[in-house]
Symmetry: C2
Subunit: 344 residues, 2 copies
DNA sequence: ATGTTCGATGACTACGTAAGCATTGAATCC
DNA sequence: GGATTCAATGCTTACGTAGTCATCGAACAT
């Protein structure tokens, strides 16, 4: 029957082996087991081996929940992200990848409607997260302030309107769009149409400002048109408006790649050739922009750098109590595709 | 000075208001505060109001960590997902959306290399998750078994090889690809090339089986070619092999949409017209497959249904101790695009 | 030989919540 | 009017870990 003792102890295993169990098995105190897992250097090699053997035998795994309760750190970073959109998905993935290398996990809070954000933020508060990424350009000022008041590290990702309210990391939206505008001017465009996604998104506003300022300085006309969503479909649909427009533009600047893809295909469906009849630019540098079917001129965001900086801001939270929140701006790179290629 | 008492208590607020603080403020016991938040019906209305007022005043938010420690439930579902790929990103987003409506959160464990999975699984074990989604078709049998032994609800998402080992939810990969094969036969294809992504992925194997079986039954030739990755680039590159092939195929079936996009563009770059010279099918039904530039014939997975079923399996974990794990198979729908349109 | 130092270890407790059990007071019944 | 019942609430403890402090013994210096 003594041979059954192993099975016996594994019965208790079902609902969790604790450090106390390991301590008993190894003939040491719970404190020593804890030390073996948190600061192994403070335990003699002999004891350490004994404990590790016992732990392996019982299948002991430290309980992060309990550790978090005691240490007040969860090693979990929260991310508030819109439920849709290629861009945000790619950002999310990058965060997850980079956090994994730092032994942090990402807890996802996605929201479909801007109105859902409040519910999400309430839910966020319950988890004692080590940090929170606000990855959406439509989060309101009051919500940002509420997050700042939570007393936990926060960073706004690519949300220009958050600058000065909470620490933020963004690509240089204004300069990027400005450079794209210069490129169009240099390519000969004189009548430019700007297609935004959702005008309430702060990225949308900032990007448009970059375009209109530069175009204005060079005496080039620029009109704003709102697609209504940051989606392919919205872009496809708005293409119809573009072709009917008078005077007909010779270039279209779009706020985001995903919308630009839709505009691209919508224009083609309407019989407009890009770039022969109309130049086209996007923004974001999604991987699809390099696909042969599009080969879109766009501003490529170095997502890996942006994310790395955001994580840095979150984890090294050395805010002197009441100083201004940091604001990191990362420059972008223009990708020159055939959608703005000079046609001889 | 008594006017400062408010500020005084908010100083303690900095590092977390607890139910004890609320109890003191409301003049009740901690237990009563707890009841107000977990089973309000057991508290008299007068007391309830008092407590709720005090809680609101102090900005009390229940600590989920502590609750989890006590209740042994975290309300968090883990997801082990590959770090790349449009398909998995869309699945992930859908999980997050649906779980949010059930007051569950999604903790992300992404991995870049198949070899990283073991590390991820070790990390997963530390969190006492309420359930775990294994969303990858390359997780090994031993790893699946290890997860099953953890004693927590697990579901394999679209990983045919996991069937019978852990509960699983998949689209009908074999039947779907079989139906696409029939469609090609009916459209007149007689020499078919099958392009897989990574042959070790169980979806890849199952899909190929569906194609080859049906094609074989109808006396149509079928060769397997491996792209090497489930990416656009891999597809683009393999297109070169396709055009050089003898006898030249009249249709290409691809294991996944993303690879198919690459094949599509690669073929075009090589001067091959789809569908005039060659028919093309994908698999997954990514949103891009409907984009005008591709208009790809593919098998559309009802991701929302698949995810809903997976969540159902996870949350209603009524496994009779040693019965066979459930296996849910959801049929797909063919999307007929112009890549297989009969050309007169 | 005795005091000193230091590494190794154990006992104890706090973290914030929830659930079981104990207590109270008021309303009900005979 | 006293016993019974029940709703409302308080008291206590357990969840699993980590840090503080105390203890112990061995190595070392005087």
């Amino acid at each position: 029957m003594s041979s059954k003792s192993g099975a016996d102890s594994s019965r208790r295993t079902r609902r969790g082996v604790t450090s106390v169990d390991v301590a008993a098995a190894a003939g040491v105190s719970q404190a020593t087991v804890g030390r073996v897992f948190s600061s192994p250097g403070k335990v003699s090699p002999a004891t350490r081996d004994k404990v590790q053997d016992a732990a392996a035998q019982l299948g002991y795994v430290p309980n992060v929940i309990a550790r978090s309760l005691k240490s007040q750190r969860t090693n979990i970073i929260g991310a508030v992200v819109p439920a849709f959109g290629e861009y945000w998905q790619s950002v999310l993935t990058e965060f997850s990848r980079q956090l994994a290398t730092k032994d942090r996990q990402l807890l996802l809070f996605s929201f479909a409607e801007p109105g859902d954000v409040d519910g999400v933020l309430a839910s966020v508060a319950q988890y004692r997260l080590d940090g929170l990424v606000l990855a959406s350009a439509t989060i309101g000022q009051d919500q940002l302030i509420q997050m700042r008041e939570s007393g936990r590290p926060v960073v706004a990702f690519n949300h220009p309107a958050a600058t000065g309210i909470v620490p933020s990391v963004s690509v240089d939206n204004e300069a990027g769009m400005s450079r794209l505008a210069m490129h169009l001017i240099n390519t000969g465009a004189r009548e430019i149409l700007y297609v935004g996604g959702v005008s309430s998104a702060s990225t949308d506003q900032t990007r448009y400002r970059g375009a209109s300022r530069t175009l204005g300085e060079h005496g080039v006309a620029c009109t704003y048109l709102e697609a209504g969503a940051f989606t392919y479909e919205a872009g496809y649909k708005v293409a119809q408006n573009i072709v009917e427009r008078q005077p007909s533009p010779d270039a279209v600047m779009v706020s985001s790649d995903e919308v630009a893809f839709g505009v691209h295909d919508g224009l083609r469906a309407a019989g407009v050739q890009v770039p022969a009849d109309l130049l086209l630019t996007g923004f974001d540098g999604l991987s699809q922009s390099a696909w042969a079917g599009f080969d879109l001129t766009t501003l490529v965001q170095a997502t890996d750098v942006l994310v790395a900086r955001a994580i840095e801001v979150l984890l090294t939270d050395d805010r002197p109590p009441e100083s201004d929140p940091v604001s990191v701006v990362v420059p972008g790179t223009i990708r020159y595709g055939k959608t703005t290629a000079k046609t001889p």
